[in-house]
């Protein structure tokens, strides 16, 4: 296999979450993080999971990534049940989670080294391609601590993309960055998504961010974690987070979110 063959996209996956329940033990007893949640994500779709903290959106992402197992219900990607982490599902965390003992290239190579079909030169070609894609072609041999927060998340994105996963799970990846850096990354992520054709599940608590990035915004509500409503976003791409139409969409969703908060608060 050559680097070019590896860089050709497999078809993006279709993801099915079927009646999944997951609880965690807390000090005040059992907490239902996910209660009977079902969700179907189409091939190549960009889905944003939005909701207040504790609504189960990150829990669902962990289940999709295979880092956790559900109490009941099933998850499958392309018909195959998800029973653990796998290369076909890349993950990007809120913290960059880069390995400080490796340089930038070494970090991107980490996942590629677990693909036995490639030789060393091909792996390096692929890693460099992705570093170029995230705009860090000049920082191949930099150490992690020398990079800014935004650059670290770019490396993390390159690392998640390098093994060519079919699904990319992103858990509030831009939450810790400053606004300017974030806006750059919104534009770049939309470009990369268009170019690399992934199915993306993106968790955020920022409604505007969700509207800017997603084909679909799935709104969660907490206690117990359930899907409250879904919004299809048909604004043309690439979207600018500061545009007026985008703000209108976001306001609508935020209103729904607040409505739910007041109803639950009065009922309690």
């Amino acid at each position: 296999m050559s680097a070019n063959a590896e860089l050709i996209n497999p078809p993006p996956a279709k993801l099915v979450v079927d009646r999944v329940t997951k609880s965690f033990k807390s000090q005040s007893g059992w907490l239902k993080a996910l209660d009977d949640v079902s969700l179907t994500v189409g091939e190549g779709e960009f889905v944003c999971l939005v909701g207040p903290s504790g609504c189960g959106k990150s829990t669902l992402l962990n289940l999709i990534a295979g880092l956790d197992t559900p109490e009941s219900g099933t998850l499958s990607s392309d018909g195959a049940p998800i029973i653990g982490p796998g290369r076909e599902r890349g993950v990007m965390f809120q913290e960059h989670a880069l390995f400080p003992w490796l340089d930038v290239l070494g970090n991107v190579l980490f996942g590629l080294q677990l693909k036995p079909s490639l030789n060393k030169a091909e792996r390096i070609d692929i890693a460099k391609y992705y570093l170029q894609l995230v705009g860090l072609g000049r920082f191949v041999h930099a150490n992690v601590h020398e990079l800014s927060g935004g650059m670290k998340q770019r490396v993390a994105l390159a690392r998640a993309l390098a093994p060519n996963p079919r699904i990319l799970c992103m858990d509030e990846p831009f939450a810790a960055l400053d606004a300017m850096t974030r806006e750059h990354l919104y534009a770049d992520l939309q470009d990369i998504w268009a170019k690399r054709k992934k199915t993306i599940i993106f968790v955020t608590h920022n409604v505007r961010e969700a509207v800017c990035l997603g084909d679909r915004v799935v709104l969660f509500s907490p206690n117990p974690g359930r899907i409250r409503e879904e919004f299809r976003i048909t604004l043309p791409r690439n979207r600018d987070i500061n545009s007026v139409e985008l703000a209108e969409h976001a306001t609508l969703i935020t209103r729904t979110l607040k409505q739910h908060n007041t109803t639950t608060n009065t009922s309690e």
């Binding site: 990534a65 982490p85 796998g86 601590h145």
Partner: protein
Amino acid sequence: MKRSLVAFIFFTSLVGIWQILVSARIWSPVLLPPPIDVARYLWAALQDGSLAEGTWVTMKRLLLGYLIGCVIGLPLGLATARSKYLSDTLGVLALGLQTLPSVCWVPLALLWFGQSEAAMLFVVIMGTLWSVLIAVDNGARNLPPIYVRAARTMGSKGLHTLLKVILPASLRFVVSGMKQGWAFAWRSLMAAEIYVTLLTGYGLGHLLHFGRELNAMDQVIGVMLIIVSIGLAADKVLFSPCERFLQKRWGTAA
């Protein structure tokens, strides 16, 4: 360049002060010989080969024992960090034995192995093993869990995770543990060599011991200088490169 000049001036002044103290004749020259006598002893000992042989014998014992200690301690430390049972048993044992000054192993080693190389090796291994084990355990235990999670999502598991993630992530602890192990091994070996005469080889500790028996203060101070130099050299050759690497990659002092 400037720094080495400062260092040179510092150490030259130390020798100068030493010479002044000798010239002041506060103590008998038997107790405090002039620097030139020590230099003369070192030169003679170099010529007759006793110094080279002593250094060689000592380093052989030290390096071999140290290596064995590290090779055993490293995997055991990873194991105690990963398994609750091992941590409750071997981990507690290691913690206890680590607090034991390693020179305390000498009497036991003599009874078990007699006045032999094996006894020396045993003492050095005991000095190294426990602190390496504890440090690696500590490093692997305090690992941010996000590293292992991230590695798992890229398809890493089992032995691969252990060798490619957990071990390098605890590298800072491993290096400081190996450094401490080295210091303990070095101290215990010196104590053992001063304490016990082995016919299979005279180490630096023996030279020191003979110096005392012969009332030859020039020899005592000379051998001490050599021991200090070896300690410094070990730090520069073995550990400084590791620490520089850690500093470069992590961006912090180890």
